[in-house]
């Protein structure tokens, strides 16, 4: 049996002490595989694996740490957020473990509400149709306003966002690929146009979410992408689409970066496409055959 994965996103990408403290809280209770911090996003994405019990314990400790150390009122960064621990997905590495991931996420959500007294909003597989963007638009103030008008309510915990730590979006979802394509220059509107052109919400590629962001410290703009369905929208087609849309706006792609880890299937799909080998999938990759049996 393979472990489950969790990919919590925390709203701190600059202060090394806080980034490390959260990493220690997570890594002391589960296996921490990767930390991706971005100063402009002011955000860190942790990748960890473990059993249900290990991950729930690790995430509770990490969220508690973030609650102590991050003050959203003093936070500024390019990436939208509504919480110190902003979004916490549990991820089945194999499809067969989807129910394990949902159960662990629900347990975590309940305990974050009960034990840490933070409002918790379920998303993705635990609240189909609701993505992080549903909660984040307008930021914490707008989210509180929608709670107060009765438009939505936290699924666990208090109805009042924590002044310092906000709320936490918790759910289970399939593996996705997070990556950023950097574009030369400072034209945020153009980056946003590229994001709109490629994302599903505005008629672009299926399973693709995208935001145009300005990164003042790095000195360029960026299309920040989540590819939620790499079978429908192969990664290289997403990259090509971004390049095409950027080029149409006289923007140069200067590089791409992966956030967190890549699901093996997506790498194999890219290889299959490049090689013209029909039917090549993870079952044809030696190391992947050694897993989970």
């Amino acid at each position: 049996m393979l472990p489950l994965e969790a990919v919590p996103n925390f709203s701190e990408g600059r202060d090394r002490a806080t980034i490390d403290a959260i990493g220690n809280a997570l890594g002391g209770r589960a296996r921490l595989l990767d930390v991706h911090s971005d100063e402009d996003h002011n955000r860190s994405v942790y990748t960890l694996v473990g059993s249900e019990e290990e991950l729930v314990a690790a995430l509770l400790a990490g969220i508690a740490c973030a609650r102590e150390r991050i003050d959203l009122r003093r936070h500024e960064g390019a990436h939208p957020r509504v919480g110190a621990a902003d979004v916490v997905p549990l991820v089945p590495i194999q499809e067969v473990d989807a129910e394990r991931a949902r159960a662990a996420a629900l347990e975590l959500a309940r305990r974050v509400g009960d034990e840490l007294a933070l409002p918790v909003f379920l998303y993705a597989d635990l609240a189909p149709g609701r993505g992080p963007a549903f909660f984040r638009r307008g930021g914490p103030e707008e989210l509180q306003r929608r709670i107060d008008t009765g438009e939505l309510a936290p699924d666990f915990g208090p109805r009042r966002l924590d002044d310092r730590a906000g709320g936490v979006i918790v759910g289970a979802r399939s593996p996705l690929i997070a990556f950023n394509v950097n574009l030369a220059g400072n034209d945020l509107d153009a980056a946003r146009e590229v994001a709109r052109a490629v994302r599903e919400r505005d008629g672009g590629l299926p399973g693709v979410r995208a935001l145009g962001l300005r990164l003042p410290r790095a000195g360029h703009v960026q299309v920040s992408l989540n590819v939620e369905d790499w079978r429908s929208s192969p990664l290289h087609e997403v990259v090509l689409a971004v390049e095409r849309e950027a080029s149409a706006r006289v923007l140069n792609v200067t590089g791409s970066e992966l956030v967190g880890l890549l699901p093996a299937g997506a790498a194999v799909a890219a290889a299959s496409s490049l090689l013209g080998v029909v039917g090549l999938d993870s079952s044809h990759v030696l190391e992947l055959r050694l897993l989970g049996e």
Copy 2:
């Protein structure tokens, strides 16, 4: 600790009973992951994993089975060979296991000579500079002639090739990628020219071996490739080179097929190249991080 891999090639790709009998002999003692049989090559490539002891036992049983069931004197096929069990590489899945693979291969070679009374020729990491082609050119008759003149000698077993089963080429080597690119038409000379243009031996891509073959049953010709060093010669560059050389000879590529399994690193390298993500390697693939620790 990961298992070792073995990828024995047997000179039977048509008779289902023999292909299955060899598979059962191998699979009863180690874990059989893949069997790739080709009627035109008249050859089957088995991929198995296990401990040193499991693999040596499995391979001895498989070679004994092939010795009983395959008669090289009645064999015809597109792929060159000198034995019923033609070439038997032991492969370290991780570089750190290279010495384990060499030791297991040497043990196997000694026991094939002693217990099965077949001449064994060491190659690859056990006889640097000697590849399968060194032994195969001219077939079993030429190999026997070279033994008789003293040009070379078996490393284990008798000095006389077995009338039915020939000899066995045994060694250890790094993971490689075996794949075939099919070309429309019947022009064997053109396929051989393409093979020469891309292979290292004739000034082509480093670590690439290639043969032009005619496949009368399938009704086309083929470039059969081994990419021994996918770091130096990325797979997609090899495929592009074949396509370019074929196109220059007015040959159409009709498809590609993988023989056996793909090393994960090669798939990740292809993905990295497609995505333009600098530094993307196996350490960034989730499932691969779960292995071997």
